[in-house]
Symmetry: C2
Subunit: 481 residues, 2 copies
């Protein structure tokens, strides 16, 4: 089948309507950039289908004409996974108009959302139904659920609820050939063949186009108890986490590690934050537990929740066992918000100080004490300067480690910046960690993944890609090299 | 490469040692049958490697000679997934000697177990480390973890901890070509490419041979509170489940539905069980919640646990909301064991009555009230007789529904038995359920799956199988047709 570019454009218009196809100079600039302004995008066509059937028709067209297709969600990804290379003639398929919540089923505790739904809108819909959709991360007001599933997004409470994968019961997917695969039913047990749902999740649009998802709703905690706890070291932090998990039956909602550098940066650079302690702890933990019984939400005569008393009891155990040196429990919602403001403001506090070498790596949780020591030593050897595990999602072994060569801009020290990145990679390799914990591969980490991934696994991924997308039209040039 | 049968046998002996290769008439009868004595097995060779390297060497041999390989665990599967067809020259690769627990890491809350480890031994190892490995099902004393992962086994507390898939952090797999893929690190966040671990889980040995797994350990509940609750109908049972989940922050460990038929059968046929009620409830629920705080395990002056009081409070809400008509809370471990003896004896109680048409299906949880009504009506229309949802893992939407045509042996009424099975299948189709909730496909449900699975998904599974096992030597003739 031979077809001209104009014929492809005309066919896209026939499928989606003129108003939803942009080409050439008419393409909105928002489709020509990424969140970090790092990966410019030069699509040949931008098309906005509003139904699964239209997505399927477009894929049939692209398969017939061997045209590359890049699915696009909220464009909040950090790895250049949804941009068109200047040298490829690619269609960007924006799913923004597929933004219907098809069903919210309270009894069954699930909802079915189209891939263009903004994550925060799903939070609201779940809340209205009396439940919670617990996938929460920084870009929640922009990111689409389709993109969150495509990259298997993580976030702030993975320690309790898992990442995007764990919250997805089923998918509707359009294949490279333009066929619609319906695996939407919210079945908690279904052993009929291979797990195609999890194969699609995290594949960054290279194996199929997610058009809708069935998502799990969880009980909405009636209350939280929150504390900032000073720990003697990271090993103690680990043991404290296990103590809390054990004592609460797994009701730990967040467990975020802060070191002295980030503590000081927050206290100094965030005007709206009140310092929790009158000194700078070497390591502190922001922890939060959720109510787990009707008793937990009863209040004492002094207005405090039973849940807070419970946390106090657990922290008393921690003091006794030498796992905590100091602690402050939030006694009001305002105090709780102050502790969270530190955590949520951390990135801003860091950036106010200047530019850093940033990262998104993970380790086995039990390896964190050693891995962090190694990172610190390696960075100091390369170019002494501040190093911090700015927000360590400790429950998941996920660190966003930051470093600044000689406390100066990495751009002014490219050799040292590269050496810091190499040291980071070496430490990940040494401890069998991951070079991409929650942001995915995109274009950013393709070469590194090819180099570091188990070679048998890499070859298997290539085989699967070739089998499911033989013409390599689904987001080509991403993830795999 | 041409090679004689004798040369294959010799090579197996060279790899594993003479003592661990059986052929022809020397093959132990245990390798020639299945759990249900339904699928006879005629392997050409039985081989018992004791290391991943030996598994890899054997796979290289089998790939070079295009010899079929059937991985075998504890042989407790119910679908004929691990038997050799009489017309195929297959090697049965028993993993029974790969039974080392390589590591138990309490701090990191994981263990690494070889695939031949018996599930119950993993329970013990986890317990000794102060944690729990919560994959519990009837065959736990026989089944291997490799088989449990190969079939994505479920069980009694999936409502709390998920099925085998949810408890596996990583795998070591030998591919068709005999390469070793190491995805063992216990990473909670790792977004480097496609999810090969979940692809292998549930693939019943058709995509690779699982040789070891990294398994999650969870907090061990310090106490349980258990009740048998009479509910007005299944809709109320569903709402009650959600109420308990909400009030306990998800600490529901089991929620098992019993109808009047199975209640009566248990009370009549199980001598060691004391009837919880002095009448036969139409629908009752065995529910159990776990301790979630240090307070929960404190005892009142009458010796009762706080946790039991908490359950009482929740049940009081249920009575008020019309979700419960009657209830008995276990006030001692003996009373708790009596309630569980009913549940655990249910299959025996049914079988004591005679033969039934059995099933393993699942529905969306919210569809259970309607689906059960449909099943009841359909069975009554075909051949009136007792019908029961003997043990409904209600939290997972998983029903083991049983029926007896005219209250007689299905073997004596083959037409009606077939019609009952057809009605079951039609009901599953109508409600978008699954024909295999937790037992897998094997040989038993191949044709049915091919007929009922989403055709795009079926074709995708075939593509993946062809890509990963191009010579079709990994458990051929199972799962896919």
């Amino acid at each position: 089948m031979k077809i001209t570019e104009q014929e492809i454009i005309d066919e896209c218009r026939a499928i989606c309507g003129d108003a939803h196809v942009e080409t050439g100079n008419d393409i909105d600039p928002k489709y020509q950039r990424d969140w970090l302004d790092k990966y410019p995008s030069s699509p040949f066509i931008v098309v906005r289908p509003d139904s699964t059937e239209k997505v399927a028709a477009l894929m049939k067209l692209c398969t017939a004409t061997k045209t590359a297709v890049i699915p696009l969600g909220g464009n909040s990804g950090l790895t250049g996974a949804t941009q068109a290379h200047p040298d490829q003639k690619a269609v960007i398929m924006s799913l923004e108009r597929m933004n219907m919540i098809r069903d919210v089923n309270g009894d069954g505790r699930y909802m079915i959302a189209e891939s263009g739904c903004i994550v925060e809108n799903l939070h609201k819909a779940a809340d209205q139904a009396g439940w919670m959709f617990p996938l929460v991360f920084g870009a929640k007001g922009t990111a689409h659920i389709g993109g969150a599933l495509g990259t298997n997004a993580g976030g702030l409470n993975v320690v309790r609820y898992g990442n995007a994968r764990a919250l997805c019961l089923g998918l509707e997917v359009v294949t490279a050939a333009g066929d619609i695969m319906n695996l939407l039913p919210a079945l908690k047990k279904d052993n009929t063949g291979y797990d195609l749902v999890n194969l699609m999740i995290g594949s960054e649009g290279t194996l199929g186009i997610i058009t809708a998802a069935t998502l799990t709703l969880v009980p909405k905690p009636a209350a939280y108890a929150t504390a900032m706890v000073v720990v003697p070291d990271i090993k103690a932090a680990l043991k404290l986490m296990n103590l809390v998990q054990n004592q609460t039956g797994g009701r730990l909602e967040a467990y975020e590690l802060m070191d002295q550098v980030i503590y000081d940066l927050c206290v100094t650079n965030l005007d709206h934050v009140t310092a929790p302690f009158d000194y700078s702890p070497a390591f502190s933990i922001l922890m939060e537990i959720a109510a787990g019984s009707p008793d937990d939400v009863k209040t004492h005569s002094d207005g405090r929740l039973n849940l807070a008393t419970q946390l106090e009891t657990i922290l008393a155990m921690a003091f006794e066992q030498g796992l905590a040196d100091d602690a402050i429990i939030a006694n009001s919602e305002a105090q709780r918000q102050n502790l969270w403001a530190m955590r949520e403001g951390a990135l801003g506090a860091i950036q106010k100080h200047g530019n850093w070498v940033m990262s998104d790596v993970s380790f086995q949780v039990a390896d964190l004490p050693n891995a962090i020591e190694d990172l610190k030593a390696a960075f100091a050897a390369v170019a002494p300067g501040p190093f911090c595990v700015a927000f360590g999602h400790m429950g998941d072994g996920n660190l966003h480690a930051f470093a600044r060569p000689y406390d100066e801009d990495p751009k002014d020290h490219p050799t040292e910046a590269a050496a810091i990145k190499a040291a980071l990679r070496d430490t990940v390799v040494k401890w069998h960690g991951s070079i991409s914990a929650e942001h995915g591969i995109g274009q950013d980490k393709q070469a590194e993944m090819k180099q570091l991934k188990d070679p048998v696994a890499y070859a298997m991924m290539k085989s699967i890609k070739a089998a499911l997308d033989p013409d390599n039209i689904l987001n080509p040039g991403k993830v795999l090299l």
